[in-house]
């Protein structure tokens, strides 16, 4: 019951890990992604990604600028122009 989360910027692959939940700032509003989310694609607005390592953990906050998020059967991939 883990979601595979990848955060990629043009300069490097920033994160590639299994987490519980990620909240992404979509252009039309924030959305949370858990394991088994339906295939989904959205552009993101400048804001913060919140990563929850497990159900009870504190959110880890990663600021991101520009890009988009894709959810497929392999997990969540966020392509951001700038992050961290």
């Amino acid at each position: 019951m883990a979601l595979h989360f990848e955060l990629v910027t043009p300069e490097k692959l920033l994160r590639s890990e299994d987490v519980y939940q990620v909240v992404v700032p979509g252009t039309d509003g924030d959305f949370g992604v858990l394991e088994g989310h339906a295939p989904f694609m959205s552009t993101i607005r400048d804001g913060e990604i919140r990563v929850f390592a497990n159900a009870s953990a504190e959110a880890e906050i990663i600021p991101v600028i520009g890009g988009f998020a894709e959810v497929n059967e392999k997990g969540l991939t966020v392509l951001a122009e700038k992050a961290g």
């Binding site: 043009p10 300069e11 959205s42 552009t43 988009f68 392509l79």
Partner: protein
């Protein structure tokens, strides 16, 4: 035959040249490793972006109303050649090869009755291109302050080019850079970046019902300019790795040539030294015999 003193000076001069080429070779080797790592680190992003753009582009039907970056301007008259070079020499035929490829393509396009404009990244190559195609360089980007390619630079170039595209300055843009194969081989490459070339065999991902937010077309409009930036960024990275590779090979050759030259000069030096001693001895002996 040159005098002993001249030979000595010559050897000293070649030796100091050899020191420089050797140092440059080692610097290039160290930088190459870094540039290669940077090029590899950028690969996941561009690969994924390409996959997404291809799958999105396969989904929407291209019409006159589609984003201009996919549909084109409807004309094929003016071509912009974006030529990415380095700022420094001492890297063999690296810059010359890119410029040669670009000029060849330009002549071909002119032969087909098209108009050609140039946009230059980097300092080298400017002189050659401006001599062959005067008044056809519409812009350039200065990379002399750039230590290693960063995405910010690529974005600045892309923004400039996209603004010119919007202003209707050209219809098609090609990017010229050098693909890094290995330290020994760098291949000058031409790539069309505007309008986006859609691979004919785009992976059919239509079977998965993907939800889009906002709709496909808005995402695509958002992604295409990013795609241009990332292509330019990729070219800059490939270029910087290629430059270091070419530099390393060229300097390795130069160091070896200098070594050969030093050997030859040393032999010549010793010969003339011995000849001088022999002459002196002959003079003394024949003087003594005459007594």
């Amino acid at each position: 035959m040159a005098s002993l003193k001249e030979l000595k000076l010559r050897i000293a001069s070649v030796k100091s040249t050899q020191k420089i080429t050797k140092a440059k070779q080692m610097v290039a080797a160290a930088k190459l490793r870094k540039a290669q790592a940077a090029a590899e680190a950028a690969r996941p992003y561009s690969e994924r972006l390409e996959a997404v753009v291809a799958s999105l582009a396969g989904k929407i039907s291209v019409s006159a109303a589609s984003p201009k970056l996919i549909a084109g301007t409807g004309a094929d008259d003016t071509h912009l050649l974006i030529v990415a070079n380095s700022d420094r020499g001492l890297c063999g035929a690296f810059n010359a090869n890119i410029v040669k490829a670009a000029m060849l393509a330009a002549r071909e396009m002119i032969g087909e009755g098209k108009k050609v404009k140039f946009y230059l990244i980097g300092r080298k190559g400017r002189a050659v291109i401006s001599r062959a195609f005067p008044n056809q360089i519409i812009g350039s980007y200065d990379t002399t302050t750039m230590k290693e390619p960063s995405f910010d630079h690529a974005q600045a170039v892309a923004a400039d080019i996209l603004a010119r595209y919007e202003a209707g300055e050209f219809d098609v843009a090609h990017l010229f850079f050098s693909t890094f194969k290995s330290a020994l081989a760098q291949v000058p490459t031409q790539q069309q970046i505007i309008p986006v070339a859609i691979p004919a065999d785009a992976p059919a991902t239509a079977d998965a019902t993907v939800e889009y937010e906002p709709d496909e077309e808005s995402i695509l409009t958002d992604l295409l300019p990013r795609n241009v930036s990332i292509q330019i960024f990729k070219a800059l990275l490939e270029n910087s790795a290629s430059e270091q590779g070419a530099s390393m090979t060229a300097m390795d050759n130069a160091t070896r040539n200098a070594g050969d030259l030093i050997n030859r000069l040393t032999i010549e030096y010793n010969r003339s030294r011995q000849a001088a001693i022999t002459t002196e001895l002959v003079e003394i002996i024949s003087g003594a015999e005459a007594l």
